[in-house]
């Protein structure tokens, strides 16, 4: 819990030392091996076509032109998946942020209950993605699942494999179930760094609960919430396993997001050119969004917390 004032001078008089590069080299080797080498393969495929038998020839930018033109088959698929994915990311953020902050405010501050609650809140984060999918696949079934059966008993026409509204609702609820704990833990860390004196001062002033939240808690949460938005946006933007288990992208292509579509094209249809072009564009989009967040985050850190 180091206050921002301490960090500020620390950032300014960090000494210049280019030998620090030596410390970074092992990381560099590992990450280069894992990112640049595979990316070269993708770039390679994205500008070539094949007639089979491992014979490739130069294909220029045709794959990219097709991909970015929504009137072509692949372009339409890509545009559809991109729009669905963006809507999905915004919807889950809309639910997870307020719910996570509310849960964080409710987490006890003292005694043995703190540790127990934190462990329980964090538990869904440590369940393998396909098991999360399995849990909800079972839970949402109309015959043997509590959720699906209960909704149908209540007279709600719910069927997550046939009806696209039900499928979307299931995927969104599943994601909220899975990841709200992370927002809650981040917010809890932010809240804990608020000194008790702030609350006492607010009590003396007779401040309402809302104004305590608005004027004391929310500003202090700013930094962690930027991290939460970054991690959750990126996480939902590259979601693959959970929907692939629960809906498989269906019904039709109603829940087919970017990663699901890409895996279908790359590993299912082994359509290397289209898959490679899609990979690069997809990666470029995530990179740009990541850069925006990173800039915002360094700005906030430089300013120090409010």
């Amino acid at each position: 819990m180091r206050p921002a004032q301490e960090r500020e001078p620390d950032m300014l008089d960090k000494p210049w030392n280019n030998r620090a590069w030596l410390f970074v080299i092992p990381v560099l080797i590992f990450v280069l091996f894992s990112s640049i080498v595979p990316m070269m393969t993708v770039v390679n495929y994205s500008v070539q076509d094949t007639m089979g038998q491992n014979q490739f020839f130069w294909n220029g930018l045709v794959w990219f032109q097709n991909l970015l033109d929504p009137t072509t088959d692949i372009g339409g698929r890509f545009a559809g998946a991109l729009v669905r994915n963006l809507i999905f990311s915004l919807v889950v953020l809309f639910f997870e942020l307020p719910l996570g902050i509310a849960a964080a405010i409710c987490i006890p501050r003292h005694g043995w209950k703190v540790g127990a609650t934190l462990v329980l809140v964090a538990l869904p984060l440590l369940i393998p993605y396909n098991v999360v999918g399995t849990i909800w696949q079972i839970f949402a079934r109309q015959d043997i699942g509590l959720f699906g059966a209960a909704l149908n008993r209540l007279g709600i026409a719910y069927n997550d494999t046939q009806d696209s509204t039900s499928a979307w609702a299931t995927i969104v609820i599943m994601d909220v179930w899975h990841w709200t704990g992370m927002v809650a833990l981040l917010s809890y860390a932010g809240l804990k760094s608020i000194p008790d004196a702030f609350y006492q001062a607010a009590r003396i002033d007779g401040a309402s609960r809302w104004s305590v939240f608005r004027n004391i808690e929310l500003p202090k949460l700013q930094k962690v919430l930027v991290i939460a938005v970054l991690l959750r946006f990126m996480g939902s933007f590259m979601i693959y396993t959970e929907p692939s288990v629960v809906t498989g992208g269906g019904p039709g292509s109603a829940t087919s997001f970017l990663s699901l579509d890409l895996v279908k094209i790359a590993l299912g249809q082994v359509d290397l050119g289209n898959a490679a072009a899609m990979s690069l564009v997809y990666n470029l989009i995530t990179l740009s969004i990541c850069w925006i967040f990173f800039t915002v985050m360094t700005q906030i850190e430089r300013r120090g917390t409010v």
Binding site: R7, K14, P15, W16, N17, R19, A20, W21, F23, V24, V27, F30, V31, S34, V37, P38, T41, V42, C106, I107, P108, G115, L118, V119, L120, V121, A122, L123, L126, I127, P128, N130, V131, T134, I135, I138, F139, I144, A149, W177, M182, A189, S193, R209, V224, I227, M234, F237, Y240, L260, V263, A266, L267, L272, A275, S279, N283, T286, I289, C290
Partner: protein, 267 residues
């Protein structure tokens, strides 16, 4: 009264969280006959057969062993190589540091789906395909940058005066780093290990793509229940329950630092 409201809030939240897990647990103790015969809120014919199957069938328990092996390898590799780098980012400025840091983070955000196909080619061509090493190395793509990010946050919380004092006291850098510095950031190292464990344990797409037989992880073995004879729901549920246990144990160890850990040491 306000405390009362908060308690109710957190209880409702936890109940909602555990409802689907309760249903999975409930199902794992049932026979398939009972599962298919309708809803019941507790197992009427309580059975451990599903769990017994997993612990006696080598295909199943080896799945667990493979997963735990590559997760452990990945955690050790990631945290070990991330430590010096995090120290460098936290303590010094050097040519290209900001760009390098951003580039590292961008790998954390790269969609695994993009890497599935090229990783398959890469690890196939270097002869590591279908080994735990392939998965352990592949997961370095996001776990190394994550470990650097977390450790950098925690290291920046240690005042630099400590480094300087140790140097004045005649400590050589390696001795200072291992004897004084590492114990100071022990919490940060624990948290970094926890996150590497977590993201390697839950990942499914790369782990499944890079293995076929010899290193098949539990998340891939679980697809065995989708057989021609129909779904084996009880077995699937039991396997699901078992995959939650390692995570539960690991969180317990870091429970006091987990909140700060999720904030990546940045509060």
């Amino acid at each position: 009264m306000r405390i009362q409201g908060r308690n109710i809030g957190i209880i409702v939240y936890l109940l909602a969280l555990f409802l689907p897990i309760y249903w999975l647990l409930n199902m794992s103790f049932k026979t398939n006959g009972e599962i298919m015969s309708g809803l019941s809120f507790w197992p009427h014919q309580f059975t451990l057969a599903n769990y017994r199957h997993i612990f006696t069938d080598p295909a199943w328990y080896n799945g667990f062993l493979h997963s735990l092996t590559y997760v452990a390898l990945n955690t050790v590799i990631s945290v070990t190589i991330a430590l010096p780098a995090a120290y460098a980012f936290s303590r010094y400025r050097f040519i290209g540091d900001k760009h390098l840091f951003f580039w590292l983070l961008s790998n954390l955000m790269a969609p695994p789906a993009v890497y599935a196909m090229p990783f398959f080619n890469l690890y196939y061509s270097i002869g590591l395909f279908d080994t735990v090493w392939a998965v352990a190395l592949a997961h370095c793509l996001f776990n190394v940058p994550l470990a650097v990010w977390i450790l950098e946050g925690f290291i920046s919380g240690v005042p630099r005066e400590i480094d300087e004092t140790a140097a004045l006291d005649g400590y050589s850098f390696p001795r200072f780093f291992t004897r004084i510095f590492l114990p100071l950031i022990a919490n940060g190292i624990g948290v970094a290990c926890f996150f590497c464990f977590m993201f390697s344990w839950v990942e499914q797409l790369l782990a499944t793509t890079l293995t076929t037989v010899n290193a098949k992880p539990i998340v891939a073995v679980m697809t065995r229940v989708y057989s021609a004879a129909g779904m084996d729901w009880g077995l699937l549920a039991a396997a699901g329950v078992l995959t939650m246990i390692p995570g539960g144990i690991v969180i317990w160890f870091v429970r006091n630092h987990i909140a700060k850990g999720f904030a990546l040491g940045r509060v």
